[in-house]
Symmetry: C2
């Protein structure tokens, strides 16, 4: 039915190095736990650049990040997502001739991502230099049914010959992370993080255990091969790698298939929690020993070895169990479960644009990447690049809360709950972070992190982005408004809001009657360390207000005591929150009738974007930060974002003026920008402009418009792209008084329709140029506001 828009296909594969690297990202497989880039199994010619990576969400080591000058509190260690192992490599020889796409003749080739099946594929018809012709079809899957499992199904059909078929399939434990010393957006230093642990063979399956150097984690990968017909299979361990040599014969027109199973098992998630705690205390001791005395290092090392061996056992056992589990089912059965999982997913997040199959396909692609990328447990979150590459080193940012959670709130609130649980799990680290930054109370979430500590090396556009606190508080509130799940607020959400609210009280101060927040950085990274960033202040106000609201709500529900007692929250503090929210200073310029981005933004020179040569974008790669900060120029939506998220804080006229003003000085050098401009343009009735911004956002990765898709997809933009339709064109807002719509439709579309969850119900929305139709698919009747007018949705509503 919708399969056309659920397949993304490329014919006549380019073998240009840059295209290959982009496609490694675009066709990667992931399931929220593991991610594998789509490298050619047989590799590229020598000298080609490649990022040949396999990743586990939340699995990290600690890397040194020295500051040029050491100042108190500057971060000098960061977590970094690790390349775990290479289990992609498979070399094929037909009649002794090695297949690769850079020699012989490629008669036809294609690559696809089937988002309905949850499988990527590559098929090639190839003529070897000796004239033998083969059809090769390779399918890959990271299973949503069994998160630890990655499969490669490698089918070879002899088109015009008979003879021998040899596979050499590798399982490489000695891998490094990718680096580029010139791009601030990816890691600077190439590094081998994993140390070799045990290598083990059982029933021709290879298992390699590796240990991190500093984070005290272990991982085991297991690889097993199945051949569709009899043949010989010999596996041997060499160093910290395993090599399987597989041989069989092939007849003309016959198809022979090799299936390669990889399973992952990591100590971060190992079942025996008590063991891990012991591990941890060992390591802490180990660390203090190390600090104390260098000569004790050896002793420390022996502790580590003991520690490693405990984890080794555990991971190895885990991997073997996972392998056993995977092999119990046939590959077709696994494919079937994959499709079932996705069928439900596509149903829940159903979205269709009639009249624009390409855009529907792009939007589907984006939604698919979100489910591929998002963590499925509380040990992880969703990285800026998902699990598709090493850009931003697997770090989690505010992107999660402001760009991605809105999508899951509407389609799979359980995932939002997970994401918030991750923040709750790391709240203690946020408290520690607040202390490092000098705050006596409250919690300050890190700008970028994997396990909860700050990993930002350049604090002016990192740790100074205090708005992340308000963003997380906002996400908790948004989850509550979508679900009314007061239990979860009592259990986790309220504590987050109280602690973030406390922080604002410590950061801000009263001056001439109003509450002000100095020396922070708003969303726009081209203007740093300013006073009263409008977005930050309005975000803090919301945070403070909702801390007060949750306090009273929980009190009414008699669920307040546990959290209040836990964090010693005084009633007096709630009054202070309320007072500060009421007195919050929101800068407004009387002359321009806009909200200035911050106190001094409008005093600065306006950047001459019109006369800036194209090759100077993104500006951050061509101008010193100090220079950028001195101009009115925005990397991304900042005040405009505030006008979307906190729209009720200003009149429509002010929002319109602001939009016009900031639009002229925004470069959209950040991928977090065009989607927001699209939404606010929709709000202002500028549907055609909204459509343009939406198109820019939709195409970002598939067309590599930011020229860095090779480093990974842009997950925030993907969520934002969805929002540009549902919050943008359809004008959805979920507020305290109920659910709102303000439908519009670009003239290029005939109709668009989508399903969303809201509280206990599921709604179906159909919008075309004649009107809108709202249907209650399940759940109880709902109040619905259409352009501010209240309706009752019982069954169907046509407006």
């Amino acid at each position: 039915m919708r399969s056309k828009q659920l397949v993304y296909k490329v014919d006549n594969l380019s073998i240009d190095n840059n295209d290959l690297m982009v496609n490694e990202t675009v066709f990667h497989n992931a399931n929220g736990y593991i991610g594998i880039r789509s490298n050619f199994e047989e590799g590229y010619p020598e000298g080609y650049d490649t990022i040949r990576g396999s990743y586990i969400n939340g699995f990290y080591d600690i890397a040194e990040m020295k500051q040029a000058e050491k100042l108190y509190g500057l971060v000098e260690d960061k977590q970094t997502m690790l390349n775990i192992a290479d289990t992609q490599s498979i070399f094929l020889k037909i009649n002794g001739i090695r297949f690769n796409m850079f020699e012989g003749t490629v008669l036809s080739s294609e690559r696809w991502l089937d988002m309905e099946q949850g499988i990527t594929g590559r098929s090639i018809v190839w003529r070897a230099p000796n004239g033998n012709e083969v059809e090769i079809v390779i399918k890959r899957m990271t299973s949503f049914y069994q998160l630890s499992l990655f499969t490669i199904e490698y089918a070879v059909k002899a088109l015009n010959f008979s003879g021998t078929l040899e596979f050499e399939s590798l399982h490489i434990g000695e891998v490094s992370n990718y680096s580029n010393s010139n791009d601030p957006r990816i890691a600077r230093d190439s590094a081998r993080y994993l140390m070799a642990g045990r290598a083990f063979l059982e029933e021709e399956a290879s298992y390699l255990v590796s240990h991190t150097v500093r984070s005290g984690l272990s991982v085991c990968t297991g690889v097993k091969h199945l051949l569709s017909k009899p043949g010989s299979l010999k596996t041997k361990i060499e160093g910290h790698s395993a090599k399987a040599a597989i041989q069989t014969s092939i007849e003309e027109k016959e198809t022979v298939t090799l299936t390669k199973y990889t399973v992952f098992s990591d100590s971060l998630r190992k079942k025996d929690y008590s063991l891990r705690k012991k591990d941890y205390s060992l390591r802490k001791k180990d660390y203090s020993l190390r600090k104390k005395d260098y000569s004790l290092r050896k002793k420390d090392y022996s502790l580590r070895e003991k520690d490693d061996s405990l984890r080794e056992k555990d991971c190895l056992k885990g991997a073997m169990e996972e392998m056993e589990k995977a092999l119990k089912l046939s590959l077709p059965t696994l494919y079937h479960y994959q499709k079932e999982y996705l069928k439900e997913y596509w149903d829940r997040c159903f979205l269709e644009i009639e009249g624009d199959d390409d855009l529907t396909a792009a939007v589907n692609y984006n939604m698919y990447q979100l489910i591929q990328s998002v963590g499925k447990d509380e040990y992880c979150n969703i990285a800026a690049k998902g699990l598709s590459g090493e850009g931003y080193e697997g770090h989690y940012f505010w992107d999660t809360e402001m760009y991605i959670q809105p999508f899951f709130n509407l389609t799979e609130p359980e995932i939002t709950k997970n994401l918030i649980s991750f923040r709750y799990r790391t709240l203690e680290k946020a408290r520690e972070n607040a202390r490092i930054l000098g705050h006596k109370k409250g919690a300050l979430y890190p700008w970028r992190t994997i396990m909860g500590t700050e990993c930002s090396g350049y604090y002016p556009s990192g740790s100074a982005g205090y708005h992340i606190n308000g963003d997380i508080a906002h996400a908790v509130t948004a989850y509550y408004l979508s679900t009314k799940d007061i239990e979860f607020i009592a259990e986790k959400g309220a504590e987050i809001l109280f602690e973030t609210a406390r922080l604002w009280m410590d950061v801000g101060n009263y001056y001439r009657g109003s509450f002000r927040i100095n020396c922070v950085t708003g969303p726009d990274e081209y203007t740093c360390m300013v006073n009263n960033n409008y977005y930050t202040n309005v975000c803090a106000q919301h945070n403070l207000n909702w801390a007060v609201k949750f306090y009273h709500l929980l009190k009414e529900e008699k669920k307040l005591s546990p959290v209040v007692e836990k964090i010693h929250l005084a009633e007096e503090e709630i009054k202070e929150f309320d007072q500060a929210a009421k007195c919050m200073y929101l800068p407004y310029d009387e002359k321009l009738k806009i909200n200035p981005q911050d106190d001094s933004f409008l005093q600065k020179k306006v950047w001459d974007l019109e006369h800036t040569p194209k090759e100077e974008f993104p500006l951050l790669l061509h101008y010193h930060p100090l220079h950028l900060y001195r101009y009115q120029v925005c990397k991304q939506a900042d005040t405009v974002l505030a006008h979307f998220i906190f729209e009720d804080a200003q009149s429509l006229e002010t929002i319109r003026n602001s939009f016009d003003y900031y639009e002229k000085i925004t470069t959209h050098d950040s991928s977090l920008s065009t989607c927001i401009f699209s939404i606010v343009a929709s709000k202002l009735g500028l549907t055609e402009k909204a459509y343009e911004y939406f198109g820019d956002s939709a195409k970002l990765d598939l067309f590599n418009t930011h020229k860095n898709t090779k480093d990974g997809i842009h997950t925030a933009n993907m969520g934002g792209n969805y929002m540009a339709i549902v919050y943008g064109f359809a004008g959805l807002r979920i507020k305290e008084d109920g659910i709102h719509f303000a439908p519009s439709i670009p003239k290029q579309w005939r109709e668009y329709r989508f399903k969303i969850n809201y509280e206990d119900s599921q709604l179906f929305v159909e919008i075309n140029s004649m009107g809108s139709k709202f249907s209650l698919l399940k759940g109880s009747p709902k109040k619905v506001f259409i352009r501010g007018k209240r309706y009752e949705l019982k069954d169907t509503l046509v407006v």
Copy 2:
């Protein structure tokens, strides 16, 4: 006559490690070209920390300074002053027993600095474990007569025995720089910079040539020994070191003296300039080769070798010539020349406080350190720590212009000329620096440097300190006002002023009628990246005004064309300078009637200094910069400095209010602060307060009040300390209309007197509580303003 105040002496030497390290600094020898820390010749016990360094002013290598996140334009290489060689080590054995102060019995000991003789000394009476008693007197000198020369005169007197005397004297070429990874004020990484070049023996003199790794410089040290009586002397080379074994006999009551000469010769200053240029072009080529292709490195290496060998020859020759020169004169003759040089110096900078010998001694100590530290040629300047230690890595800051040049303007204007010439010589690098920071025109001097490029790793309190441009411009103007040397302005000074003025035009912008300067850092490093820092703006205004004045002055004198043609300066630009200066925005708070430090300073929370525990100072070692920036708290004089330097910009009432306001929130964590507070307190008639601040400033290094004297002296404070008397108590100002005084005297003093140069004249000023006496020692009669009233000084004037 004044010898008491010209000797600083310590009895009963402490052998506490920390005291030893402080004394390495306090008793160091330097002459502006070389500096040698005062380590014990025989060393300390194992495990003792020490900074055993010898330095050459301006001689550097380039060290990597990686940024935690790479952003465009951030500095990733810095110059660092090198530890050149160890020629201090001399081990003495009497009758086979090795002398050291940590074994046997020290019967008496003292250490002194004789500032009249220009010599430091240590004398010890020591009883060996076997009962042998010796008196050891060691004198050290870095010659002002022959800048390349360092001498150690090591005299041993047998008090109660006869026997053998053995010296082992080392010349070590393999040395490292000191490091401390926890203190932002000194280098983080210990490093060997110098590579061993040729080692050479001639007539028992050893010569060691070393090459820098990246800066393309070479240095040769030569060491030669003379014994006061016959004995054996054998020198041998081991690796890149030389060891001299000297043996003789000693009779009871006899004194035997070993004299050790060290000479330094470096390629930075080598005579054959054409050779150096060739060298340089070789290196440039070499560098581009290296960038292009790694495989070419070998070739590149051979180029370097050729390059190194050219410099090697040259340096070795230089060192041998210097040694020959040194040996032509006897040591007493060298001592005599040293004293003669200092006699003239002390005469020119004569300053005496009657009634306070200790403070006179401290002030003399400070003045002595200034002549020890200041560069004597245009290849160097005066480092923040002089040549006394490795703090701030030998870098030159704005300290030179604002704290040290005022002293030399009044006492030895030729040195000021040298210091300005250094800035002129590096003007091209300042232009390059401006481009890196995004400015299309003008020059921006680096915040810290050795050879002219920016070495600041943390730009918010480094490169963002744009006021350094105005400071340098002010120093040029101050030199002109002191000397009326219009030739020098035509030759060098005006070009500096025009280029710095151009930069302000590019940095600033008009907003609502006034000219504003956004996103810079003023002198106070606890508040960074602000808009309209009062000091910066008033400094820029002065810079622009004087660019206009010099333009017209040179035009009148018909000296304008060369510079105007060289830098393509248009008359239109001069009008723009004038206009911007007239419209310069100088923030003023109507309510407090003070100049706010910057646009938003007064909105911030006031730091509670009263309740900050003592151990939390300096705050920079205990608080994250972002936290500091969010408070009203000053590391040092900022607006108060402006009120001294640019006093005519505000009314006395405003200055008084500002002083009161900022005094309460200033920690004086910077050594640049108390002297300025002293001067402004004097101006405001707060003589007792001024006296207190003056005392704090005077004692800084001798009493190690900042707890980091081990890393070197604080030269800026030393200049500032002088200013606190002459500009502070005596109220000296040199303005366009003439020379001004506003005498005051602390009640602790009976009288103070000093000599200064002004234009073609020398003045002698005597001030006591009854009145002041001004005498014209030489030169033409002068207009003198005493507390604003004009007098004619022909011979003597009593007011």
